[in-house]
Amino acid sequence: MKEYGVFDVLGPIMIGPSSSHTAGAARLGKIAKQIVGEDFVKATFLLHGSFAKTYKGHGTDKALVAGILGMDPSDERIKYSLEIAEKKGIVIQFHETDLGYEHPNSVKIIFENKEGDTFYIIGSSIGGGSILITDIDGTKVEFTGNLPTLILKYDDRKGSVSRISTILSSNSINIATMKVSREGKTATMVLEADSKINETVLKEISNIEHIFYIKAVNPIDKR
């Protein structure tokens, strides 16, 4: 049986009208932005299922854009996010689509930088403001962003997992969950930790020579 705390039933503090279609959408956008990390000039949202059908009435569009601008689900500027994005010169597009297998409240966000390079994230809003990231630019993953999360891609070599976990433990970071998958020679690791993963630790891990992608996502607005 899942354990509940008082703030699971009284909270979150959020911008309405819907925890799944608005608060979850903002959280999804914000976590996607953290994963992308760099500046972007265009974001295209491919909305799936209930997101596609009701996004205007639920303000899902505004919440998603607010999220990729870095706003929390309780930020009162969410209402004005489309105007704010326009002022910042970020091009925003929405398309209704069918992503196939995904949860009814899902979105694929395609980010584009100045050079025209694209990077996409797929995620779902799974209820009560919680979310699930399922795809990072072609790599299948599954994490909620409730815990500090480390995402790594590297050439699969012996001892990689142990080197990474040694760095974490020497920095007193406890690993909560770890999933490693492999496609060809590329391994993807999604690791959830019990405490925040700071820049120093990230740097130390990225010094491992065959890691070519590393990103830490720290939790937002969760009490």
Binding site: G5, G11, I13, K56, G57, H58, E76
Partner: protein, 288 residues
């Protein structure tokens, strides 16, 4: 630690504590956070609740789609200018619940309690009760822990999601949380709190979730208004010494089973009930 209503009552009685004290202790044990920090977080909730249940009383707040708005303001004016049938207390409680619902539907800030769709009920119930009996902010914070305890039990043993249980799981549970909170605020025993919670759910058992166009607007706002009235009257019944024949845990179980046996068309999908009436469909085509 408690998993259901019976265990909660056993702890209250054994330690001679109120529900809010047991819930607060459990939260401290579970999170390792000090009491001040937890109470401060709850105070943040209370502050947002006070703001949301006041905000639309004196101005017309219109929802994103335009389906609802201005109702809280209408009720407030009605109280000011008329001798109401149900009295000022019931009417201001409805106005406050509508206010939070309107703030929510217009992309304003609310506290999910237990969900965004039912977020008007609990704030209105405790604010209205505190106002009538001149209770302090600390007492209101205490009552939110009482409410949370009830919500946790339902979430753990049943559901607080309209998509899984229909409106009874959202507005019904919100009313149950609010009724228990009121009873404890007014000095009722832990048993009386659970009877109040039971009565609230019994009153709306089977209530479906059939939002027009799938939006958290209509009939949600009305059900928040009637939900707070349900909470207030259930609390009064329990404070009068009336008991629910069926114990709280069994009421919760019944609610869960009823929720599961409701067809999907009546659980937030907007494929049944009011959503598919001719006018419901016309409104949908207009706003989406």
């Amino acid at each position: 630690m408690f998993n259901n209503g019976e265990e909660l009552l056993t702890i209250c009685n054994k330690k001679n504590k109120k529900i809010y004290e047991v819930v607060l202790q459990k939260e401290m044990d579970q999170t390792g956070k000090p009491i001040e920090e937890i109470r401060n977080l709850m105070k943040e909730n209370l502050n947002v609740m006070i703001e949301s249940s006041t905000h639309a009383l004196d101005k017309n707040i219109i929802s994103v789609s335009g389906l609802i708005g201005g109702q809280a303001n209408k009720v407030k004016k009605y109280i000011e200018n008329n001798k109401t049938l149900c009295g000022d207390l019931i009417n201001i409680a409805m106005a406050r619940a509508l206010s939070t619902s309107e703030v929510n539907a217009s992309m304003g800030k609310i506290v999910a309690a237990p969900t965004a769709g039912a977020s008007g009920i609990l704030p209105s119930a405790i604010i209205t009760t505190a106002e009538k009996f001149d209770l302090s902010k600390e007492e209101m914070i205490n009552s939110l822990f009482t409410a949370a305890g009830i919500g946790e039990i339902v979430a753990k043993n049943a559901t607080i999601s309209g998509a899984y249980g229909g409106c009874q799981a959202e507005c019904g549970v919100a009313a149950a949380m609010a009724a228990a909170a009121i009873v404890e605020m007014l000095g009722g025993s832990p048993e009386a709190c659970l009877h109040a919670a039971s009565i609230s759910i019994v009153n709306i058992l089977g209530l479906v979730c059939d939002p027009i166009a799938g939006l958290v607007e209509f009939p949600c706002a009305f059900r928040n208004a009637s939900g707070v009235v349900n909470a207030l009257t259930s609390a009064d019944l329990a404070l009068a010494g009336i008991e629910s024949l069926i114990p709280f845990d069994e009421v919760v179980e019944a609610m869960y089973k009823v929720g599961k046996s409701l067809p999907d068309s009546l659980k937030e999908t907007a494929l049944g009930g009011l959503a598919v009436t001719q006018t419901g469909k016309d409104l949908k085509n207009k706003v989406l």
